[in-house]
Amino acid sequence: MIRTLYFLLEKEFRQIMRNKGIVRMLIIAPVIQLILLPLAADYSVKNISIAVVDNDHSTASQRLIGKITSSGYFKLTGYTGSYNAALSMVEQEKADLALQIPAHFERDLVRENSQKLYIAINAIEGTKANLGGAYLTSIITDFNDEIRVDWHTSGSSTGPDAPQISIASSNWYNPFMNFHLYIVPAILVTLVTAMAAMQTAFNIVQEKENGTIEQINVTPIKKYVFITGKMIPFLVLGIIIFTLGLIVGWIFYGVVSTGSLWVLYLSLVDYLFAMLGLGLLLATYSGTQQQAMSLSFFFINIFNMMSGAFTAVDSMPGWAQAIVSTFPPYHFIRIMRMVVLKGSGITDILPDLGAMFAIGLVLNVWAIVNYRKTA
């Protein structure tokens, strides 16, 4: 059995190494994608253009504007006295946000200890506008606190003695909110996913198309030996791609794992076990490479969009979350972030490791049973 496996592996590696195009694609494509994609998937928004409608022209309004522009997130692209003028700037896309500071802003702030600001947001570029709105709100809250502190320290009698409650947020594990730390591990997972599921499926379906699989089926090779022989080369390729990805993430984005590499690679092998199982299963259901292509595209698209790489799985409806929890990439992305960002150890990721292994077992057994039937 071991000897049979040896001859199978020798053949597979010869074929893979001989196909220069595939080797190049498998190595170079992920590297390029990993260099480029994090730039696009960066959610930290900068250079938000803001138009300010200052109807007050007071020290307080000047101070607020100064605080906004000095935050680094905003660019003051308009300063007018008319709300309509600001709104038309938003319409012409010269500004993403319009902030209206009402007349008597300073007076009312001092007298009544309250003031209303009006923010108009261009919601066409949703993420930018939303985040811009959120940044602006937090800057204004900050501004509020400062003013109160000023009043207290200056002993101003007009200042109210209202108790001050401020919420201090601090970002654990990623203190500088470096988005690359968050997205690079996830993109690396999506690249390994594409390779593992698609290439395995294509490889087997190619043998079907060429008729060589029928020749294999009349030999005494055991099905599980044949399938193991198909999985090991792609397991090795997956590990190579992952390693290259870690190096690219480190060189280009300074992403270095806080947790141990040993834990990462163990999880990778577990993950590849599941994804190669999926590839095998897809191959048993496909008669042609075209079918295999359509099937694997279907799964890879869903995996990439739903597994939490780019959006939070927590914000999906419960039933969708239940579906996502059966996706191996969901678990591997979680593991990657926990290990890379938090330095989680093996015990912390055990539930996800277990889930991936269980899914992998189901997929592989299903593939072997189904392969027998069609043989």
Binding site: T4, E10, N210, G211, E214, Q215, I216, P220, A375
Partner: protein
């Protein structure tokens, strides 16, 4: 080539025995009640129009397809329960060319010899012997995709018997091959039969049918005739197999696929 030694069936033990072997796909009966025996060292021709059920029958005998009913033993092993044992003892060459195009000639030989469990020195020995027989020594390191079709088919046949099986099943092995190469191919078949390998071959070429010890002609999933080419010609009163075949096959109700 023209001197056909008519095998005397009782002299050698049967290596293929089928009894009412049947395969149904839903309502469709692809192969019905096949009953015949093939003897050791015999070249057994399996004729029939396209869609007559030849490939289905052959796939059942190779353990690639489970029969619906009936019995069969191949090299003494049961087709239902001992398919893995059967696979050790048979060789198979399908209609589709099935060597690896992206491996060289000797890599293909090495791979198939290896998965049949041959030892490394034995593989080396067998490889050089095969290359010599096929006069492919110079092409040992050539990718199979670069070989002409005729050479590929000869190599494919040699690889299918690399592990010295009891029986080799050949499914239209000479389709699309030129007459000279076909003749060489049949030399290889005779050579194998001389060494005691039983050859079970399907073909559409009636001159090839004449080369067989016995032929069976399938029509609509049923064996319509089975005997030596000489006796079949006598029985139907024709002087060639072409007319015998036409006589039987033209009554077929099934459309060719």
């Amino acid at each position: 080539m023209s001197s056909i030694t008519t095998a005397t069936p009782s002299a050698t033990p049967p290596v293929i025995t089928t009894d009412k072997l049947t395969k149904r796909f839903g309502q469709f009966v692809a192969a019905s009640q096949l009953t015949f025996q093939v003897y050791k060292g015999e070249i057994f021709g399996f004729l029939g129009a396209n869609g007559a059920g030849k490939t289905t029958a052959m796939r059942m005998l190779c353990g690639l397809l489970k029969p619906s009913s009936g019995n069969a033993t191949i090299a003494g092993y049961d087709v239902y329960t001992q398919t893995e044992k059967i696979k050790q003892r048979i060789g198979y060459m399908s209609q589709k060319f099935s060597l690896y195009d992206d491996l060289t000639v000797s890599e293909n030989i090495r791979f198939y010899a290896g998965i049949y469990g041959m030892s490394t020195p034995r593989i080396k020995e067998k490889t050089s012997q095969l290359l010599q027989e096929l006069q492919l020594e110079k092409e040992a390191k050539t990718l199979v995709s670069d070989l002409p079709l005729g050479w590929k088919q000869k190599l494919s046949f040699s690889v299918s018997i690399v592990h010295d099986p009891d029986i080799v099943f050949l499914d239209e092995p000479t389709g699309g091959v030129d007459p000279v190469t076909r003749r060489q191919f049949w030399d290889l078949i005779y050579h194998a039969a001389d060494r005691g390998v039983t050859v079970f071959v399907t073909t559409h070429y009636m001159d090839e049918a004449e080369y067989c010890n016995r032929v069976s002609i399938m029509v609509d999933g049923v064996i319509a005739a089975l005997d030596s080419p000489t006796r079949l010609r006598q029985q139907f009163g024709y002087d060639n197999m072409e007319d015998v075949f036409y006589e039987l096959a033209r009554n077929a109700k099934r459309k060719a696929d």
